[in-house]
Amino acid sequence: MAATDYTPEHQLFRETVRKFVEEELRPRAREFDEMGRIDKSLFKKMGELGMLGLRYDPKYGGAGLDWSYSAVMFEELGRSDNAGVTMGISVQTDMATPSLAQFGDEELKQKYLVPAIAGEMVAAIAVTEPDAGSDVAGIKTRAVRDGDDWVINGSKTYITNAATADWLCLLVVTDPDAGYGGYSQIVLPTDLPGIRYELLDKIGNLGSDTGLFYFDNVRVPVANTIGDIGRGFQQQMMQFQDERLVACVSSMAGSEHLWQETRRWAEERRLFGKPLSKMQNTQFKMVELWTLINAAKELTRACVEKRVAGEDATELITMAKLFCGRVSRQVADECIQFHGGYGYMKESMAGRAFVDSRLISIGGGSDETMMHYLAKQLGF
């Protein structure tokens, strides 16, 4: 039983997600790489299974559950053999929709949250800009009010689900003189005139469609603002917590899966007359990695439990994000070494993990952003 299987329902939900991963995602993992995105119809299937609204109000089609179920889901999705696909799904569930669910008004939730939970609409989060990433306050995309509309100009980059998204949770500057009170979050349908995107060519996470958006005098109703005008920065900071915790859970599931596959490889691979797994160097390295993975999983579990208990987990999640990113990179690096030449092939799970895991230390706030926050918290 996994650490987050608190009840029989958790176990059953794990079974369902595992089956979905084994039947729908893993067999098509390389196909999604080729396509550069997940098959959009799978969102509908995930919606029917209840996977896209775990913590959201049943009134909007959600399940009204807590973070422990999200942990179960991403522990299983992390084993999909396609980190890009897992990321695309997590953008829908934990990066682009939490603010809308928490702060959006009834009409906005009916129009955009309900179909997102049902998998009929795909969402993306649009914060990063060509000149502002982890420094969120440095964004320049501007929304100027014109009657009942916002008129938006600017660009957003590294947007996951760029080609599949039906709407963006867009962070814009609505009052450049109001400091942290000058940002707003807006639901922006992607089919509006004045929006165009181009896809970006990444080194890893190939199963997700990452793009650059341009907004040229895009008009959207002011009614599409999520929560209060001017509260976008604060709302986005809260939304980041879910994003980071998802990254911890899914990256450690991926690392564990890779470790297990590497062990299988080491047991079968024979060198100098004996299996690789019987060599002390292999055993010591594998044990070391296992210790790191378990330490990271335990830290992550502590974060999940704080979230379940409704406590502020910001500091712990920040540490977990920093630690999990580094552990996943180390695991991938060492596992490539065990695989030798094969590990350097694109078809090798270790090789893919090597480039995929690199993103954990960058996306959702870089390692340096995490350390900057922690240094402040510790009084430096």
């Binding site: 029989p8 329902e9 176990q11 059953l12 939900f13 079974e15 369902t16 089956k19 979905f20 299974l49």
Partner: protein
């Protein structure tokens, strides 16, 4: 319509199996279990009847505490209630013993249809279904690949050798032992899982269904299970694809098979 689906919990298809110390079965400690794949299709067939109209779907299984997980999965998929029978004397039960227990369960209610999988993934006997039908004195069809229920009977397609199909009309009540691939098995949705919490799961001892250990004592016992030793004498052919093909034809001719 009242439907009974007989389920068996078997080792997970990805479990790393090791032979137990007495050499008669695998080590069950620490491995995961799941619903026998054939039985998943049987359950799905029953749930489709339920979806199509008025039907109650009851699932039954025999096994230690761990099998409740599979029953909960079945309830999460849409079954209405579950029956779990266990007694330590059933630990080494043979097919007839299992069929007797299921017959006793089935006799307590008037089921119109009993569904089961064609066989189990672990022991492969394929006997429980036909034996159960015999004990219940109802007709049965095995290797079912299609069902069409109409007017108190079912038109059944059964798989024969070489892709041939046999069609028969069977009156209800009857037992159908289902082949895999007959349908697309649904997942237990989160909503279904949460609803399953409130569905009845009856635990029964042998005495609750009018049986005792002697009645189900096995007549068949496993002497040993083992991994076949690696064979010898394989001919490895080398060369280009054309060369290998030529060598292969030569070998086949040598053996007088061509």
């Amino acid at each position: 319509m009242k439907i009974l689906v007989c389920l068996k919990q078997v080792p997970h298809k990805d479990a790393r199996l090791e032979i137990g110390s007495d050499g008669t079965w695998i080590k069950e400690d620490g491995i995961k279990f799941e619903i026998n794949d054939y039985d998943n299709y049987a359950l799905e067939e029953a749930l489709r009847l339920k979806d199509a109209g008025e039907a109650e779907v009851v699932v039954a299984t025999i096994g230690p505490d761990r099998v409740t997980q599979s029953l909960r999965t079945a309830l999460g998929m849409g079954a209405d209630r579950a029956i779990h029978v266990w007694d330590d004397s059933l630990a080494n039960a043979d097919s007839l013993g299992i069929a007797k227990v299921l017959a006793a369960v089935a006799k307590e209610e008037n089921f119109d249809v009993v569904f089961c999988g064609l066989m189990s993934d672990d022991s492969n006997y394929a006997m429980v279904g036909p034996m159960l039908a015999q004990l219940l004195d109802i007709p049965h069809v095995t290797a079912v690949v299609k069902t069409d229920f109409e007017n108190g009977a079912v038109k059944v397609e059964k798989e024969l050798e070489g892709g041939t199909l046999e069609v028969s009309q069977v009156p209800l009540p009857c037992l159908l032992a289902v082949q895999t691939g007959i349908n697309e098995v649904r997942y237990a949705s989160l909503k279904g899982i949460m609803q399953a919490k409130k569905k009845p799961l009856d635990k029964k001892a042998l005495s609750d269904i009018g049986l005792d250990g002697a009645a189900v004592a096995p007549k068949l016992s496993i002497e040993k299970i083992y991994t076949p030793p690696k064979g010898e004498g394989a001919n490895l052919l080398s060369g280009s694809a054309d060369e290998i093909a030529t060598q292969m034809v030569g070998k086949i001719k040598e053996l007088g098979l061509l």
